[in-house]
Amino acid sequence: MRVGVGLPTSTANATGELLVEWARRADGGPFNSLGVVDRVAYRNLEPLVALAAAAAVTRRIELLTMVLIGPLRNPTLLAKQLASIEVLAPGRLTVGLGVGARDDDYTVAELDPRRRGARLADQLELLRTVWEAGRVGPRPSSPAGPRILVGGGSGQAFARMARYADGYAHGGGPPRAFASAVSKARAAWTEAGRPGTPLFYGMAYFALGEEAANTGAAYLRHYYAFTGPFAEKVAAANLTSPGSIVDMLRGYEEAGCDQLVLFPTVSELEQLDRLGEVLAGR
């Protein structure tokens, strides 16, 4: 199983300088990918802009959205933006798409959240068409365009994943929850008559060190405040010790994960080094 790391785009006091240095160091470290999260009504950097910046200072690392809220964006323009990042970082872009969990992102984007699932399906149908048709350039370096993952836990999300995507992007949780999603995704994939098996991406949060643990928990409570009491559960699940990270990696690997992306919950470059040490000792 490969391990990726999230970019600090939404943590408290995250700066552009930190993001660029983080990306540069991650590219030279034991990480397979740089992931970004997506929200509109929040303080985070826009994920595609952040990935474009990361693309400029990296050579090797995979660039990943985990996940991008597709229905918030104009489909043709999105296809063009994704193709553009793909041109900046040939063969390195993986696009995770989902419908998001917050109505207020739709409200501020002046969009109706209803039927957003059906709109995502429509968008997925269009992306490949745009990339293949060539009227709206640039042409991605690989003819099929970037790899596409679909996220979400509903039956419809699994059906969309099986119909249009190369893999599945999980939204986080204990390995058992991930394993259950894997089994559903495989079932949907098989039923759609797709050959092979989908790619599986998982995600988790981390903050190493006691002080970082407290700051990280506060960030997660803030970021997930819209879920009400669930925010406490996410904060409680933050990985704050090397042992808990190693256990998580093992659990996800056993559940069939191809790549687990660990997102920082504090804006400190030191966290990247600490995580690198944990991975080196694995």
């Binding site: 059906a118 419809q156 059906a159 089994s183 079932a187």
Partner: protein
């Protein structure tokens, strides 16, 4: 710390007792609206596992509970004049009143303040408390104080039930099913002390009204039920305790705590009474909450931890309880079953007890089930010593003899050119067959170029395709007794650069490419393409042909009102929407040899408002059965992007169950079936030929099949162990050398056995000798 508890039921009292024990400096106050000796309901049930937890939590109340409970290990099922007894299920029952008495006394001993006859409407009485525990049951008020956080959701079940007692001392958990002129009634009854038993009567709404029970008072209800269950009550009385007819409500809450308020037991969640877990879950909640409070100094962290620990456990019970409740709501579906089959279905209804669990608890019963399925319905015959488990029992449809009931699908390919796969198919089919499955299914095979899913999908419409599929079929026939099918499909999923056909010009998504609506000679042409493909399938040597009318493909599109908007004879009513698919089925049946079975993959539910429902699917399956379909494989969803699909464990099984038991056609279940145990819920409707074990296997595979079956049997018995020493095979005989180890009353015995089976050319066991012993 100061704890305030609303509600003096098992959850509240147990929490009070344990929290006071954990922290003797804590002040704990319980407020209960009823008197100390008031109680509703009769007895409650605990499993062994729960008793273990109670023992560890508070040994003194545990020993008192131990001293006053009833214990039993059998489940009796009265059905269709037969009584089936299943053993090995250990349960404990205790009178609710006695349990409350024990807990109240223990609470007083450890210094809990108990206040009875006090009705609360708000938490003002607990203003001084650090934590308020809402243990006030499903109808309590605490949950209602923060509805935005707790987000309670109630699902009210369809059936009516009344909670009686009886002075009949039972010695088993007892289910009674009785049909009279008003409908089907069932009883869930269990003992809770030496003199009294709980006796719950449940029935569907229509039976309830026809029997006049909606108008009847308590006495009249009791008289009606006493009459109805006279044979089982044997002159004993039904006892009342405000036993009103009600509908059960399953309660789920998104969160169980808010600030300093936490919910316990029925106040947070309920699970249908038929799995008897309400009190158990409530008391386990109390144990977990007290543990969590002990572990964390921070209250919020403790309450979060409590929720994280308990919610997944409770959800699993609620899911099992919903399955169990659904079983009892629709139990009349299974009235055609023989008693042994009915009993097995009842015991495994919630999927908490699977075939394998049951074979450990009650090997004798599972052996009878195996024998019943393997040997046809022949009560006159002794069950064979060794019968294979249901999934491994053979199955025949027309002239096809399947050695077992496992179907494996070949992996999909998408590297073909004009329907001719680039990947050789023989290794794919051989590896699917090597899994041991009795039936090997191909991926979807298009009957015309424009009917492929994508540019690389395989087809069976050009002469070149014949060779590829012949090899795939031959690879299966050479290596195992498995069968292979062919499947016709249409309506592409992905763009392939051609115009597709459908019932109506409705695209999957607004931006998707709309298909062309079928018109004029399309009908004749498509039907002819299906027939040609069927003829080619005969030439390829396929044993079973499956027509595809599922997952949004051409024929499925006709069936669904969401995809079929036609105004002619092929659209509108279900009868019209069925017309073209049935015409195709009849035409294909005509081209397909009458001794070979034809199957159908059927769109059983669109899962969207206005779409195909499972009720429609039952009617459709029956219509196809009349056109000569022998096996129906229901699949769900994929007609529209927002269509329902679940993809949970064994998600296709309930649809297969309905098709089989209501449309009366054998069904193939699929959908995230990951263990053999889940597959065993699928059982054949038809009697099987006696002793059919193998199709036309090679000697090796025949030996393997028997060996595997016997090994499984060896695993299954507690007191009977079968070691297969060796198997010798000739063209006509299979000789098994076995050691049978048994133990009776602690006395082990060993026996060497030789079994000789004479196998005829068509794979039937003609004679079976057992030597030795």
């Amino acid at each position: 710390m100061k704890y305030g508890v609303v509600g003096g039921g098992p959850a509240g009292l147990y929490f009070a007792l344990l929290s006071r024990k954990a922290d003797p400096s804590a002040e704990v106050r319980v407020v209960e609206r009823n008197a100390p000796d008031a109680t509703f309901g009769w007895g409650v049930v605990f499993s062994e596992e729960t008793l273990g937890a109670l023992r560890d939590a508070d040994f003194e109340s545990y020993t008192q509970i131990q001293d006053s409970f009833a214990r039993w290990s059998a489940i009796d099922i009265h059905y269709a004049g037969a009584l089936i007894r299943s053993r090995g299920h250990v349960f404990t029952g205790i009178s609710r009143r006695v349990l409350l008495g024990i807990l109240q006394r223990r609470c007083l001993e450890v210094g809990v303040e108990l206040r009875f006859d006090t009705e609360l409407h708000d938490l003002a009485a607990f203003d001084d408390c650090d934590l308020v525990v809402g243990a006030d049951g499903v109808n309590g008020f605490v949950r209602g104080l923060s509805p935005e956080t707790f987000k309670p959701a109630l699902h009210v079940h369809d059936t009516k039930y009344a909670w009686f007692g009886t002075d009949l001392p039972l010695d088993a958990f007892t289910f009674i099913f009785r049909r009279n002129e008003h409908g089907l009634f069932q009883v869930h009854a269990y003992p809770f002390d030496a003199r009294t038993s709980t006796f719950i009567v449940e029935c569907p709404q229509d039976a309830f009204r026809r029997a006049g029970l909606d108008q009847a008072g308590e006495a009249a209800s009791i008289a009606y039920c006493e009459r109805l269950f006279e044979p089982e009550l044997r002159g004993h009385r039904l006892l009342s305790n405000r036993s009103l007819w009600v509908s059960f409500a399953t309660l789920r809450s998104a969160a169980w705590h808010h600030d300093r308020v936490v919910l316990l037991g029925d106040a947070a969640h309920t699970a249908h009474f038929s799995i008897g877990s309400g009190t158990k879950l409530a008391m386990e909640d109390a144990i977990a909450l007290v543990d969590s409070l002990r572990r964390h100094r921070d209250l919020e962290a403790a309450l979060t931890d409590y929720e994280l620990e308990r919610q997944p456990v409770v959800e699993r019970f609620q899911e099992a309880a919903l399955e169990s409740a659904a079983y009892f709501e629709h139990v009349s579906r299974y009235e055609g079953f023989a008693p042994i089959q009915f009993a097995f279905n009842l015991l495994t209804r919630s999927r908490r007890i699977t075939y394998v669990n049951l074979s450990v608890r009650d090997p004798v019963l599972t052996r009878s089930v195996d024998a019943f399925l393997a040997d046809g319905r022949r009560p006159d015959r002794e069950p064979p010593l060794v019968a294979v488990p249901p999934l491994f029992a053979p199955f025949s449809i027309r002239s096809a003899h399947l050695v077992n009931r496992v179907a494996a699908a070949m992996p999909a390919t998408e590297d073909g050119v004009d329907g001719l796969p680039a990947t050789p198919l023989a290794p794919l089919s051989a590896s699917a067959a090597a899994s041991g499955a009795g039936l090997v299914l191909t991926e979807m095979v298009a009957v015309a170029a424009e009917g492929r899913i994508g540019a690389g999908s395989p087809g069976l419409y050009r002469p070149e395709h014949l060779h590829a599929w012949k090899e795939a079929v031959a690879a299966v026939h050479d290596s195992s007794p498995a069968r292979i099918r062919h499947q016709g499909i249409d309506r592409p999923l992905r763009q392939g650069g051609w115009t597709t056909l459908a019932a109506s010009a409705v695209s999957y998504t607004p931006r998707g490419v709309a298909p062309r609506a079928m018109d004029g000679d399309d009908f004749t042409r498509i039907k002819a393409a299906f027939v040609t493909a069927a003829e080619m399938a005969v030439e390829c040597g396929f044993d079973l042909l499956a027509l595809d009318a599922g997952l949004g493909y051409l024929l499925a599109g006709f069936l669904s009102p969401l995809a079929n908007r036609r105004a002619d004879v092929y659209g509108g009513s279900l009868e019209n929407r069925l017309r073209f698919p049935l015409e195709v089925a009849a035409a294909v049946r005509g081209a397909w040899p009458s001794d070979r079975p034809m199957a159908l993959r059927l769109n059983a539910a669109d899962g969207t408002v206005g779409g195909v429902t499972l009720d429609d699917a039952v009617l459709m399956a029956a219509a196809f059965r009349e056109r000569g379909c022998d096996l129906v494989h229901p699949v769900l969803g994929q007609t529209t992007p927002d269509g329902w699909s679940d993809y949970g464990r064994a998600f296709g099984v309930p649809a297969a169950d309905r098709v089989r038991n209501e449309a009366h056609v054998p069904a193939l279940a699929s959908g995230n079936i990951t263990s053999a145990d889940e597959g065993r819920r699928r059982r054949p409707r038809r009697p099987l030929p006696p002793g059919a074990i193998v199709g036309k296997p090679s000697a090796r595979s025949r030996a393997q099949a028997i060996k595997a079956a016997q090994r499984r049997q060896g695993e299954m018995f507690d007191s009977l162990h079968l070691d297969v020493h060796d198997i010798l095979v000739s063209d006509a005989h299979v000789v098994s050398l076995m050691t049978l180890k048994t133990s009776k009353g602690g006395q082990p015995a060993e026996q060497k056995l030789v079994q000789v089976a004479h196998v005829t050319d068509d794979g039937k066991v003609k004679e079976l000798w057992t030597l030795g012993g």
